[in-house]
């Protein structure tokens, strides 16, 4: 190979076992933690991990949890999360986690064991076509068939996982490759040139975007999780730019934390359960500045009713996210950090010509929408309202800079609405796939990365049960994760849809035969707390926070509370339902809307 990055003779000839190559590559890539579960096909690699101290292995209790934990680790640190599982069932169990990481753009490298190369295709014991199964749920995947490719593949896997729009990468490792001899190549010698996403914005497009912004009378920033992936500097630049412009900003579910929630320019989250002011402002704006957001259907509602009068600027590192659902006027393919730096510079250059008064009327309109108080609720008597529980929790922990993870359902939306997130990498939720069971293992991963921080998993009774075996992991590694469970004895979000759209026929959504969660926690060796009355809530939260180990706090809430506001499927932003009283008797749903998930 006449390659400039050609390995020097001494490194190229240094031969190790495949397992040693894997461990060395992981160390070189800066890996400190692996979340995994052993099995026959990966035993040589486990043996090698056993012999060293640079990388810590966290034994989860289910391979899906390994991926979610790696996601929690990655999203709370910005580093690549690493997973190690065995062949066959070990690999297939990761599929939900990988799909979750793909949808939410989380950098994960997942090493899977495989039967020896000469047995591939023979339906060998614990053989699965892992690269076939995971091809559509990874950013990229590899089966290593030749020892000389091993180091190159591992380095490229990390490069692909973390570059551009991040995502999960699977490396399938046949057992004979792990056991046989393989040459090592350093990361510097690896060839990474075939994957190089564009990062710098086109300066002309930046100017076009600024032209629209300076003339805008009803502008809005619409920002998503891409900002958080771009990094803390990008989020700082965003805050600076938003403040420089004086424009309002809304965030997606994935974007929460990219801009301080307490800032007066923040309109709250948008979308299906977003605030009235955020959704109305999106509907009525004349210039929309979308950054690192992907116009998901939960955000846009009915497409032909989406922001009908706006001109749109879209910054994204993934060209395939642009013009996918919603056509835009100025497309900027770039890393958000670089685009924002360019925006800021251009804005300052023009500052003397910009008249801040032109958006005064817009802010007046927004003030009126805000006065609707769309997140309002009433806590009366002793039955705990979920919104109240979350607000109280926030009051107790706001100064502790907590990391919050959620599962999926009503509790997730209430947490998004009522637990303000001030900084990036503090809010970990399954947005794209909506995976029940994500929150607890993600909290474990975040706690591993931040042993001294407060990590809270806000969850629902049904979701938590899906991954509750991970309490053993929390106990084993002394992880003081605080589980704050809103128990309504329903798959609440399912019941809400049944009540709204299926004549209140609550098919299979009641959580019958739930365990005694306090005893369950205790059975694992953790602490359990149950609170059923509003007057006891503060004491329960204090008790939870005071305990040094993992705690499961079960908050028994009003079982029939629903999440509002709500834009029903197939409706436009201005057709938002604010409260149960608002529910139109003729049914807010079109046939077309009903088919949407």
């Amino acid at each position: 190979m006449p390659d400039s990055g050609r390995p020097r003779a001494e490194t190229a000839t240094e031969t190790l076992t495949g397992s040693q190559v894997v461990v060395r590559a992981l160390i070189e890539q800066g890996v400190e933690v692996i979340f995994g579960y052993p099995g026959g096909a990966v035993l040589p690699l486990y043996d090698e991990i056993f012999k060293q101290n640079a990388i810590r292995h966290i034994l989860v209790r289910h391979e899906q949890a390994a991926v979610h934990a790696a996601e929690g680790y990655a999203r709370s640190t910005g580093k690549v999360g690493v997973v190690l599982v065995t062949s066959g069932p070990g690999a297939t169990n990761t599929v939900t986690g990988l799909t979750d990481a793909l949808m939410d753009s989380v950098p994960v490298v997942c090493l899977t064991g495989q039967v020896p190369t000469h047995m591939i295709g023979n339906d060998a014991f614990q053989e699965a076509d892992t690269v076939g199964i995971t091809r559509p749920c990874t950013k990229h995947n590899y089966l290593v068939k030749r020892p000389e490719d091993l180091a190159q593949v591992l380095h490229e896997a990390f490069h692909v996982a973390r570059s551009g729009r991040p995502g999960p990468v699977v490396v399938d490792l046949p057992k004979n490759i792990l056991m046989g001899q393989a040459p090592y190549r350093t990361a510097r010698e690896a060839r990474l040139s075939r994957y190089r996403p564009r990062r710098d914005p086109d300066p002309d497009r930046i100017e076009q975007a600024l032209d629209l912004m300076v003339e805008a009378e009803r502008p809005i920033f619409y920002v998503g999780g891409g900002l958080i992936n771009s990094g803390p500097v990008a989020c700082e630049l965003l805050t600076e730019f938003v403040r420089a412009t004086g424009f309002p900003i809304t965030l997606t579910l994935m974007g929460l934390g990219a801009y301080p929630a307490s800032d007066p320019q923040f309109l709250g989250m948008l979308g299906m359960h977003g605030t009235y002011e955020a959704n109305m402002a999106m509907y009525d704006c004349d210039v929309m500045i979308a950054i690192g957001a992907r116009f998901d259907d939960r955000v846009t509602g009915r497409l032909d009713g989406f922001s009908p009068r706006s001109r749109r600027i879209h910054v994204d590192i993934d060209p395939s996210s642009i013009n996918k659902n919603v056509p835009v006027d100025v497309a900027i393919v770039a890393d958000a950090e670089r685009a924002l730096a360019a925006f800021l510079e251009g804005w300052r250059r023009r500052a003397h010509r910009i008249d801040p008064r032109r958006i005064e009327g817009w802010w007046e309109q927004i003030r009126q929408w805000r006065a609707v108080d769309s997140l309002g609720f009433r806590q009366e008597g002793e039955v705990i309202k979920p919104q109240y529980a979350i607000r109280r929790l926030h009051e107790h922990v706001r100064d502790l800079d907590p990391i919050v993870t959620t599962d999926v359902g009503q509790h997730q939306m209430w947490a998004a609405q009522h637990f303000p997130i001030e900084k990036p990498r503090r809010w970990l939720t399954s947005g794209g796939l909506g995976t029940m069971g994500y929150g607890f293992p993600a909290a474990i991963g975040a706690q591993i990365a931040h042993p001294d921080r407060l990590v809270i998993n806000i969850t629902g009774d049904a979701s938590w049960v899906m991954m509750m075996q991970e309490m053993s992991t929390a106990i084993q590694y002394r992880l003081p994760v605080k589980i704050f469970m809103l128990n309504n004895r329903w798959m609440g979000m399912v019941r809400q849809w049944q009540d709204l759209f299926h004549g209140s026929r609550r098919a299979e959504s009641y959580m019958d035969a739930l365990p005694d969660f306090v005893k369950l926690a205790e059975a694992f060796g953790a602490k359990g707390i149950r609170v059923e009355k509003a007057s006891g809530l503060d004491a329960a939260i204090e008790e939870m926070l005071a305990h040094p180990g993992p705690v499961l706090t079960e908050v028994v809430i009003d079982p029939f509370e629903n999440v509002y506001p709500m834009i029903p499927g197939g409706a436009a932003h201005n057709e938002i339902i604010l409260s149960p009283a608002d529910k139109r008797d003729e049914g807010p749903l079109s046939e077309e809307g009903m088919v949407l998930v």
Partner: protein, 184 residues
């Protein structure tokens, strides 16, 4: 894109990829997973030194869908270049077909006559049967098949190449720096 046409249009897209296992599955999976159609797909290694393959895809879609397809193709790791000849052309498109006709003497003589004026080449003859090789545009081949009424047809699919200076080249850093063997 703002005023993108809603009209569906046929596009010929050429993709230069690393010739590694699984690359075709990635491309096909992209189309099937997202519900796009493939009218024709051909693939072969075109650069043995750098082990690059060229995939020619004929697909139909609205402008928005075609743009989406190209962006999705381009973000696959083994994909080096994506060229939409329908937009970036002009281009030459050809297809090859093997066309078998069976029948009595009279029928075969007639087929030979049609082949002659349509420039199909006789490549095999057995008692009662002929095989023609036809190269041309897909329309030419359709016309030939309609006339000779064959019992069996095997078509290679569309291959295409830009005219003159319209060249699909690998990025410079790819040439002669490849390592191989990833994927299944």
């Amino acid at each position: 894109m703002r005023n993108a046409s809603q009209q569906e249009r046929r596009h010929t897209i050429c993709v230069l990829v690393d010739n590694e296992p699984g690359v075709l599955a990635r491309v096909i999976g992209l189309f099937s997973g997202r519900g796009y159609n493939i009218e024709s797909l051909t693939v072969s290694e075109v650069d043995h030194v750098n082990r690059l393959s060229r995939i020619n895809i004929v697909t139909t879609g609205t402008e928005q869908v075609i743009e989406q397809i190209k962006a999705l193709l381009a973000r696959l790791v083994p994909v080096h270049r994506v060229q939409d000849l329908t937009v970036e052309g002009p281009a030459v498109e050809r297809e090859l077909a093997l066309v078998k006709v069976l029948g009595d003497r009279e029928r075969l003589v007639q087929a030979l006559r049609i082949a002659d004026f349509m420039h199909a080449r006789l490549v095999d003859s057995t008692p009662g049967g002929l095989i023609f090789e036809m190269t041309g545009s897909s329309d030419d081949i359709d016309a030939f098949i309609a006339l000779v009424e064959p019992v069996e047809v095997s078509r290679a699919g569309v291959v295409a190449i830009g005219r003159g200076g319209v060249v699909l080249e690998p990025p410079p850093d790819v040439v002669a720096t490849q390592t191989k063997g990833e994927g299944r």
